[in-house]
């Protein structure tokens, strides 16, 4: 079992997952910290993690599934190499985020919650990045970008794909 199809995701084994769970199990309210740690480490929360979490944190698998599905942040499938969050909230709407959103979807040829076939990009909506005076805002992995015009987006996307070539 491996998730190497997505470069963003670290390969996982039950033993590695258990290690992450054990690192967090003694925290009060350990569920969210555990899920975050798993996703940070493996790029997503593999299905195989669910029974292990349930076992260690003494709850049911349904509980774990319930928590994962409640929160928009958690994913159960590998993401693309870069996750692009586009701000859909009001302050960004006021400066053209609807047009930007349309441009991004058209140029990546994906909709929200989808990954490009080359596993380069996953597109996600987000409701505010706290950059509301300088929108439209997007987040690429952990970096926020402001005043993103369609042209600026193309530039940023280019930079990202170019880096891949250099890395290889």
């Amino acid at each position: 079992m491996s998730t190497t199809s997505s470069p963003a995701a670290g390969a996982w084994t039950p033993a590695l997952i258990q290690e992450v769970i054990d690192d967090h199990k003694s925290m009060p309210g350990a569920m969210l910290p555990t899920l975050h740690a798993l996703q940070d480490r493996f790029g997503h929360i593999p299905d195989g993690a669910v029974p292990l979490i349930a076992e260690t944190l003494s709850c049911t698998r349904a509980d774990v599934h319930g928590v994962i599905s409640f929160y928009h942040h958690f994913r159960t499938r590998p993401a693309g190499r870069s996750v692009i969050h586009v701000c859909r909230a009001e302050a960004c709407q006021a400066v053209g985020s609807r047009q930007l959103e349309a441009h991004i979807k058209a140029s990546l040829k994906v909709d929200y919650h989808q990954t490009t076939p080359d596993h380069e990009f996953t597109l996600e909506p987000v409701y505010c990045l706290g950059n509301c005076a300088c929108g439209p805002s997007i987040r690429i992995n952990d970096d926020v970008h402001g005043r993103v015009t369609p042209a600026r987006f193309d530039e940023l996307a280019d930079e990202l794909t170019t880096t891949v070539v250099e890395v290889k």
């Binding site: 009060p28 309210g29 350990a30 569920m31 969210l32 910290p33 899920l35 975050h36 944190l57 509980d63 319930g66 928590v67 409640f70 929160y71 928009h72 942040h73 958690f74 969050h85 909230a89 009001e90 302050a91 960004c92 709407q93 006021a94 400066v95 609807r98 987000v126 409701y127 505010c128 990045l129 706290g130 950059n131 509301c132 005076a133 300088c134 929108g135 805002s137 987040r139 952990d142 970096d143 926020v144 970008h145 402001g146 005043r147």
Partner: protein
């Protein structure tokens, strides 16, 4: 001696390429063999000028902005390192910039001035004076000082902070908690983020004082996962504060203890609602709890818990240091102290404006904001986040204070002011309010969970021209059902923006084809 150059490092400055600007400045200095020390300060909150580069001069700090990476060479050529003011981006002394000078910065007195993680910077500007004062007093007298200040919760509900603390204080001794609501989910707001990224010790100090006041030795900051930079900075600041004895088992050498931990949310707007937040902290789905019991009595893990917004805690060090009365001296009516207003959206000069309660919305948007970014006429303003009404021109004269706004159905909320020019289609905005609720409802009660879905459908029908009149009536009734029948303000206030569009911008809720035919832009 080295020349000190400041390049802000908050999310917005970075989103506008401040890191690259800092690199270019370092390179330019090296190639000219000038001894330059670059400090990554926080932002002053004058976002339209970001990246705002400052240089230390004998007369004070002088500013340049907005400095894009490509402008660095020409700035250096024209004497940036000497603080020369010849360049077109020169702004003069930072403290003299009108937007900043006209503010009353009690809470935000240090942002942008200091290196956020430097304890030395923090303590040199009265940092931890409030904590020292609190350590010398008993819990009740701290609570009394906060009551005197008149501080009301800045997260939205405007509940008096001192009274909340009193309730937790009065509960029998035992495990109690301090929880900071750093979920800052409202569009158009970034003041919590500025506190956490630019002056994190102030939040740590405020929460510690709360712990001393009510007898709690454990605190949690529930931070939204959309703020990765704030996460890193807070974790760093907590580690440094522990090391220096400002957190831990022996606060400043006393036998009093306070421990603090950051917990990340996971992209759910509803987790900003305090009971949903507590559910989430305990490791469950963020389903809203029915109240009572109040969190102050049965909160986190069933124990008495203070839940306050970042800005509420951030106001506390000032109050303990300068006295509650000094804080209460600002403001109007029952809204005491200062409000952190956040100008956002289609605004020329967006940013943070901290002022005593009472300034009119219009004056804010024009005198500070400078009107719209596009230069087109302003059409609508949404104050108080996604659950706040859209205000038409006739309501812009209202002074910003809790009671004044409540009087006409407005919401001050967390202080976000989102401006829209005349190209906005208010029908889109009404639809979005409902759509947002479909995405973010916790699902616990029907009026909200189902009502929002119906709301989107009905608005779509109206705009498609299907039985428009009948569907408008239906929309009105649906809104009333949601307001009356929802368990929490998510479902209960989602109709506010929708109703405001129905009342003040009815033309935008007519069928689209009719409007196009009638020549009304959409």
């Amino acid at each position: 001696m080295a020349i000190t150059v400041y390049v802000p490092s908050d999310t917005t400055a970075r989103a506008l390429q401040a890191d690259r600007v800092a690199e270019h400045i370092a390179r330019a200095a090296a190639s000219r063999s000038v001894d330059v020390r670059i400090v990554r300060n926080g932002s002053r909150g004058l976002f339209w000028l970001e990246p705002l580069v400052e240089v230390d001069t004998p007369d004070g700090r002088v500013a340049f902005g907005p400095v894009m990476p490509g402008a660095v060479d020409s700035l250096v050529e024209s004497g940036l390192f000497d603080g020369r003011q010849d360049h077109e981006l020169a702004l003069g002394l930072t403290e003299e910039i009108a937007y900043l000078k006209q503010q009353q910065r009690l809470t935000f007195s240090r942002i942008g001035i200091i290196d956020p993680l430097s304890l030395e910077d923090y303590t040199s500007l009265r940092g931890f004076h409030g904590l020292r004062a609190a350590l010398a007093r008993d819990g009740q007298s701290i609570v009394d000082e906060v009551k005197t200040s008149g501080l009301r919760g800045r997260g939205g509900a405007a509940f008096p902070t001192g009274i909340k603390w009193q309730t937790v204080h009065d509960e029998a001794p035992g495990q109690k908690y301090i929880v900071c609501n750093a979920d800052e989910g409202d569009s158009g707001t970034f003041a919590d983020r500025l506190v956490m990224e630019c002056d994190p010790y102030m939040l740590i100090e405020g929460m510690t004082i709360a712990g001393l006041a009510v007898g709690a030795d454990q605190g949690y900051i529930y931070l939204r996962s959309e703020y990765p930079l704030a996460h890193t900075i807070l974790n760093n600041a907590i580690a440094r504060a522990c090391e220096a004895g400002y957190l831990g088992d022996n606060l400043l050498g006393t036998d009093k203890a306070f421990h603090l931990e950051v917990r990340l949310g996971a992209g759910a707007y509803i987790c900003g609602e305090e009971t949903s937040l507590l559910e989430s902290l305990e490791g469950r789905r963020g389903l809203v709890r029915a109240k009572p019991p109040l969190p102050a009595i049965e909160g986190l893990f069933g124990r008495p818990t203070v839940v306050n917004n970042v800005l509420s805690f951030a106001a506390v060090p000032f109050i303990l240091d300068q006295g509650g009365q000094a804080y209460a001296d600002y403001g109007m009516g029952r809204s005491r102290g200062t409000l952190a207003i956040q100008l956002a959206g289609n605004v020329k000069r967006g940013g943070l404006v901290e002022l005593a309660f009472g300034i009119s919305l219009l004056s804010l948007m024009e005198d500070f904001g400078g009107g719209t970014l596009s230069g087109r006429p302003l059409k609508a303003v949404q104050v108080g986040g996604p659950l706040g009404a859209y205000l038409p021109e006739s309501q812009w004269d209202n002074p910003l204070d809790y009671e004044g706004f409540a009087a006409f159905g407005g919401v001050v909320g967390h202080g976000g002011v989102v401006m829209f020019d005349d190209t906005v289609d208010m029908g889109d905005q009404a639809r979005f309010a409902m759509e947002f609720c479909t995405v973010e409802s916790c699902g616990k009660c029907t009026p909200c969970r189902i009502g929002a879905v119906r709301g989107v459908e009905v608005i779509d029908r109206i705009r498609a021209g299907e039985n428009a009149d009948m569907n408008l009536t239906l929309l009105g009734e649906l809104c009333e059902t949601m307001v009356d029948g929802s368990l929490c303000a998510m479902g209960g206030m989602t109709p506010f923006p929708v109703q405001s569009v129905m009342e003040h911008f009815p033309d935008d809720l007519t069928p689209r084809h009719a409007r196009v035919a009638g020549g009304i832009p959409c």
